[in-house]
Amino acid sequence: MDRNYHVFSDGRLERHNDTVRLVTLDDEKKFLPIEKAEAVYLHGQIDYNTRLVSFLNKHGVALHIFGWNDYYAGSVMPKRGQTSGTTLVEQVRAYDDLEHRVDLARKFVAGSIHNMRTNVSYYNTRGHDFESVLTTLEETRDRLEETTDVAETMGVEATARRAYYSTFDDILPTGFVFDGRRYNPPDNETNSLISFGNSLVYANIISAIRATALDPAVSYLHEPGERRYSLALDIADLFKPLLADRVIFRLLNRNQLTTDDFETDLNSCLLNERGRETFSKEFEESLEETVEHPQLNRKVSYQYLLRLEAYKLKKHLLTGEEYVPFKRWW
């Protein structure tokens, strides 16, 4: 599996001798092996030109841009290598068929409730008492089967997520409060970590969807909106507990991130450059973690699980084979 490269320095990213080179402001030159790149994440202030964009396009490498204060600002995606009218037609058909759409929406929520539950029950056996949250999660899962429209399904997911987030204040070390999810902008350290973590999950899923012929804008749980890849939001919900939240717990409980890694402004709180770098490192390491896959009978990386999710969805749409959402099995 190819890797993600993160650029934190300011400078210029350019094509040089058939690979990509970063020239930092103090004229340091660093090379990025293009043949091994899956995507490049830009966190610093970077100049680049069309020559670089067409070169990345030729190699199928995406550029994910994080703008001021690391808000996800957008992606420069390679030209679609995979196009399939049939897939798109089936994808839209499933969206248009209410029963089919609700069924898929429910599956995304069922998977994400399961994965939230895995995190909660992990900490439940480690000195915390989360029995009531576990019960709530089980109840929401049961209620899910009775939902008849997407808004209702979305409501169940919101209830589940609220219960799940209520455990954060207990799990996180002293000094870190959570007190409910807030964004645009995040108002405390924990919220800013969740925002940053979720945006990395989201960008990785955009790359994964691009590997299939699925259209990232046609979604089931989330309403397809303008100018956003809402299918990536659907799939991201499944993986946030595994990829973003576990990294947050790990970094804070091991003291690898402290309040010094944040910048607090009037009513926002965001990771500073060092904090973002620490977080991205841990995040990339967790993408590379592998697990034995029961159906494939081999080890796959977490990153590959994202791609498998896109493949499974596509296969479901094209062949009608049941879509089983990602549920952590280990």
Partner: protein, 87 residues
């Protein structure tokens, strides 16, 4: 994936040929030394291209390990592969 170390010895004015080529796949660790994780397919590409590039009196040696885990790697001084993915 395999873990490889590539070292090469070429006429001084020709070394950039290998340098520029290998930079696309591996991390440049020292003059004429590269290392990193690659796929079998890329290793094949590297071998073929190396064969084409080298002249009669030049050579390249490719050490191949099935995984980085099998290398006991000690670096004295600064490690050039440190954070190769975080620029």
């Amino acid at each position: 994936m395999v873990y490889v170390i590539v070292v090469y010895d070429m006429q001084a004015d020709r070394t950039r040929l290998m340098l520029n080529f290998l930079r696309k796949y591996l991390t440049h660790v020292q003059n004429s030394v590269f290392e990193g994780d690659i796929t079998e397919g890329d290793l094949e590409t590297i071998q073929n291209k190396t064969r084409e590039t080298l002249k009669a009196d030049e050579s390249a040696i490719i050490y191949r390990m099935s995984s980085e885990k099998y290398v006991d790697r000690t670096v004295v001084g600064e490690d050039p592969t440190d954070d190769a993915r975080f620029l």
